[in-house]
């Protein structure tokens, strides 16, 4: 089934809503949907930068099927905290990436980046993680990511539309991953 996802993201301090629409055929008329805000790759700095929205905010971003926007995806995790609007980038027409919302997890804040080739997940990684220097996050990086990568890959092979339940270290990870997948229409 072709999917043309449209994503609405609104953020407040508590519950975060992420919406996607799956339909066939692929053509969707956008009508008066405002253009996506321009996305910039966060600079690699040593000082964490934080943008916070004070009230409910709605941004609409549409993944591009025609000429893709030019942007360079980061290839390694940074220590920058960002709560800016989440970004979807197109590397080639069939390879796309998205970064999920920043979520609180056991030791701090993280966001997950997922890469897909057409509709197959090829890579899952931490986009940004800040834990106040807690050394345990390193072991999460080394231990949890390969396991959660497997979890994400396993999930997609079971023809399911969601996962219920999550292990202690991965609750926040799964949430951010979920929002990244939703942006990509998966």
């Amino acid at each position: 089934m072709n999917r043309a996802p449209i994503v609405l993201l609104s953020t407040v301090a508590g519950l975060v809503g992420v919406f996607s629409f799956h339909s066939s055929p692929a053509k969707i008329t956008f009508g008066t949907v405002p253009a996506a805000p321009s996305t910039t790759t966060p600079p690699t700095t040593s000082a964490p930068t934080t943008t916070r929205t004070s009230g409910p905010k709605t941004t609409t971003s549409t993944p591009v099927r025609n000429p893709p926007p030019t942007s360079t995806p980061t290839t390694r995790p940074t220590t920058t905290i960002t709560t800016a609007p989440v970004t979807t980038t197109t590397v080639t027409p069939s390879v796309r990436q998205a970064t999920g919302v920043s979520v609180n997890y056991s030791f701090g804040i993280l966001s997950v980046k997922v890469t897909v080739s057409k509709t197959t997940i090829t890579k899952v990684s931490i986009a940004a993680i800040d834990d106040g220097g807690n050394p345990r996050s390193v072991s999460i990086d080394q231990y949890a990511i390969p396991i959660l990568q497997q979890e994400a890959l396993r999930a997609q092979s079971a023809n399911i539309q969601g996962v219920s339940g999550a292990s202690y270290t991965s609750a926040g990870f799964a949430q951010s991953l979920q929002s990244a997948l939703t942006q990509l229409g998966l």
């Binding site: 089934m1 449209i6 609405l8 609104s10 407040v12 301090a13 508590g14 519950l15 975060v16 809503g17 992420v18 919406f19 996607s20 629409f21 799956h22 339909s23 066939s24 055929p25 053509k27 969707i28 008329t29 956008f30 009508g31 008066t32 949907v33 409910p56 709605t58 999920g100 919302v101 920043s102 979520v103 609180n104 396991i147 959660l148 497997q150 979890e151 396993r154 999930a155 079971a158 023809n159 399911i160 539309q161 969601g162 996962v163 219920s164 339940g165 999550a166 292990s167 202690y168 270290t169 991965s170 609750a171 926040g172 799964a174 949430q175 951010s176 979920q178 929002s179 939703t182």
Partner: protein, 241 residues
């Protein structure tokens, strides 16, 4: 707190976005409103004020009374294994509120007339319809003992909620002893309404598989308990695939 809720709509008719957007906005608004009313992390929420004795239930938003009434019903059905009034710090319906908010959000989405919709609040899922007209939604249950796997796949009748060891401490207090305690690795409940499924899943993971008897007189709900040793215990009609 940062609970990410995802809303997925599935439709074969490709409705234009402008028709869907106002309803989706309203559905997301329901989540925000629930957070404003019920968050125990916010000092100014109505529930926090009730817990501190600053606000009477009669003067609080109607939704709070509705939720507490559902909590009473869930307490009866679960024979006290789910009991918001036994929580430290005052009445705490958090074990039911997430499911209630997601279900209310889904009910707004019915106005889109799509073939299927799914609201996933960090693993508690409310849904109607399916991904296409020939299928119901299939939901994987994370394996609490082997985190890199799915324990099983379930065809959901609508609502599915899972309570597990990752919640240990905050909400999994045994009402009978007053201490944090679980007798299972995870518990999953499916049924028509997510608020009740949420509460009963919480009760089940605290009480363990012997409490599956609570479903004997509850026709539209089924339960699964994954014990600490990894064994499955489920009600006869649990919709495992």
């Amino acid at each position: 707190m940062g609970t990410v809720v995802t809303l997925d709509l599935f439709d074969e008719m490709a409705q234009p976005l402008w028709a869907l957007a106002p309803i989706v906005e309203e559905a997301i608004g329901v989540l925000h409103a629930a957070d404003e009313m019920f968050s125990t992390w916010k000092d100014t929420s109505s529930l926090s004020r009730i817990r501190r004795g600053e606000l009477l239930l009669d003067d609080a938003p109607l939704e709070i009374a509705i939720v507490l009434e559902r909590c009473r019903k869930a307490r009866d059905i679960s024979k006290g294994w789910f009991d918001p009034w036994a929580m430290p710090g005052g009445v705490d319906p958090t074990g039911l509120v997430k499911g209630w908010a997601a279900q209310a959000c889904l009910n707004v989405l019915r106005g889109t007339n799509v073939g299927g919709a799914l609201v996933n609040a960090a693993g508690d899922i409310a849904s109607f319809g399916g991904p296409n007209k020939d299928q119901r939604f299939r939901i994987g249950i994370a394996d609490p003992v082997h985190p890199q796997q799915l324990a099983c796949v379930v065809e959901t009748p609508g609502a599915i909620a899972t309570s597990g060891t990752y919640e240990r401490g905050a909400h999994l207090i045994d009402p009978h002893s007053g201490r944090a305690m679980t007798r299972a690795a995870s518990a999953t409940v499916v049924g028509a309404d997510l608020s009740l499924a949420d509460a009963l899943a919480t009760a089940l993971v605290i009480a363990g598989e012997s409490a599956l008897t609570m479903f004997d007189t509850l026709n539209d709900y089924e339960g699964l308990v994954i014990a600490d040793d990894g064994t499955f215990h489920m009600t006869p009609n649990f919709p495992i695939v």
